[in-house]
Subunit: 341 residues, 2 copies
């Protein structure tokens, strides 16, 4: 396992198989025509010699590397691992591979971009990280398709796919108000993230339009520990909310634990609803009522958009907002319309 | 955003900056010498023109792509996201990028390998997926360094880094037996995985050597739902164990929920210890006593090994087993030696 052996070339394979080099090339080109018998001889010779067609050398001819860069900041947020897994699987179905770039949590994603571009990715997905207008313009100038996932960006003309977060905020407000709760609280995620801004706006506007008191607001930063401390303070104080809308599942788990830590019952004393529907929402300790983000549909829409932008079928920027869906479990008091009889 | 613009070359940058092409090349080669003033002019001209040195074209000359392939099967197991995140960060510090390959859970990882090799990765990390002996031999023949992470493989001479799982099993047995529990249970992960086989062996052998009754055993497959059903059955039956060793955290969360579902208190009625120390182990609902896998040290050892194998500093195969560390929280009854006074 020290120095690499000299690489086996298509000429070596052609010689060993007793066919032309063109036959070898066609065997390894998806969609190219080659007689079954010839293909069999080529594949056998290639296996014997350890030949692998070189995707990278080919990319210099096709100007396509088949690499899609995915920039992620919050892999430890349970929302993202299933997202990354589905991206990887779906892109592989289209013959692409994921070049993964992780960036620190609050990063703009700009710092990593120059190096990513060195790899000549065919397109780029930005998840948690924000993209500056300058860098978005740079990508546009290079003709590099970029899609924001679970993010929208003000002041850029970048395509984006996300959940309809404002509608999710409204849905949460209606659920809690319809159940008879008027003293509400909001547990905010990272304050200036687009997901939080949109969920918060939908929630507060719907509460206001229904003439309920303005909800109390604490910041949980999308993180368990921060949310636990914030919610514990909120629930221990005077005039405690009867019901909470948490901007993601993890903060709702913290809210449930904080309520129980104070001897409060969920949902009898505090009713809790969130956004995500991560795997843990089903766990017995939490049994969380939450608005499911349609991860599969969001990823699929992003992949369709990327491929469309790559081959020019889609031009300009497209923003798609997919509706969330309420998943009723045990953590929220229910309005009469949703109660099981 | 349709067709890509013609690529800016180093010659264009040299002309715009009024320097030699060699100066441009040296500016973008890590470690190469170039005068600060020259570097500044090159970087400014490169930024103005949108020039990016082409890592892929360079790889054809250096025979190094700086890509490390990482094969993962279980991204939704909370053990893996922080692992992937640290791999990405540490490899980036060494100028590498992660080519991510996800494979179905029970896959051998072989199916994806031919395509991965097309990308001419410099080296390969296999996490959850097993690697067949044939495929391991193929990698060795190509001179491609491979390191198994959190896995060992019988009958191959592939390098591996993992937690000392057998010692973890012994540690769990000692903890539970020292606390005075003699009726034990084992919640197995995926039965034929090396992590499960090693943890199980360490646990059962230590229990036997200490003359305690053979523990009851159920299979949880490393998954919450499977473990919940299995543990519920075990605890509802006759002669229920007083203490459980779960082969990972997620199954311990399920075990705690199953115990509570039966009206049993943790740890008073059922004492529970596990392996992992995932983020959720700290959550109030679980407060899990568990054996921490040293993820950071494991990833760092793997990266060192990969780089050593790549440049020939390390030859042959190396297997490193790093010790786990007991993290005491509230889910297990403690022996007198560990009780706080």
């Amino acid at each position: 396992m020290t120095a690499r052996r000299p690489r086996v070339t298509s000429t070596d394979v052609a010689r060993a198989a007793g066919v032309s080099q063109s036959a070898v090339s066609r065997t390894f080109t998806p969609g190219a025509s080659v007689a079954p018998k010839t293909r069999k001889r080529v594949v056998e010779a290639a296996a014997r010699l350890g030949y692998r067609p070189n995707a990278i050398a080919r990319s210099l001819i096709t100007r396509r590397t088949k690499l899609v860069g995915i920039v992620m900041a919050h892999l430890t947020n349970p929302f993202y691992p299933p997202v990354l897994e589905r991206f990887s699987r779906r892109l592989e179905e289209h013959g692409r591979r994921v070049l993964l770039i992780t960036v620190p949590g609050q990063s703009r994603g700009d710092a990593a971009l120059p190096e990513i571009l060195q790899y000549q990715v065919d397109s780029l997905v930005l998840t948690s990280a924000t993209l500056s207008s300058a860098m978005a313009d740079e990508c546009a100038r290079l003709g590099l398709p970029v899609v924001l996932f679970n993010r929208t960006a003000a002041r850029t003309r970048v395509s984006a796919v996300c959940c309809d977060n404002e509608a999710a905020g409204m849905l949460a407000a209606d659920l809690l108000l319809d159940a008879g709760d008027r003293r509400l609280g909001y547990v905010a995620g990272t304050a200036n993230s687009s997901t939080n801004l949109e969920r918060e706006r939908g929630f507060f506007e719907r509460v206001a339009s229904r003439k309920a008191p303005r909800p109390k607001r604490v910041i949980g930063d999308y993180v368990y520990e921060t949310a636990f401390a914030a919610v514990r303070g909120l629930l221990a104080g005077r005039g405690r909310p009867r019901a909470l809308f948490c901007a993601n599942d993890v903060m709702a788990f913290a809210a449930i634990d904080a309520a129980r830590d104070l001897g409060l019952r969920v949902p009898t004393d505090v009713s809790i609803v969130a956004v995500d529907d991560s795997a843990m929402a089903r766990w017995r300790a939490y049994d969380l009522t939450t608005i499911r983000q349609p991860i599969d549909a969001m990823v699929d829409a992003t992949v369709d958009l990327l491929l469309g932008l790559e081959d020019g079928r889609i031009t300009g920027s497209v923003v798609r907002r997919l509706p969330g869906e309420l998943v009723v479990r045990g953590s929220a008091r229910l309005p009469a319309r949703l109660r099981r009889h």
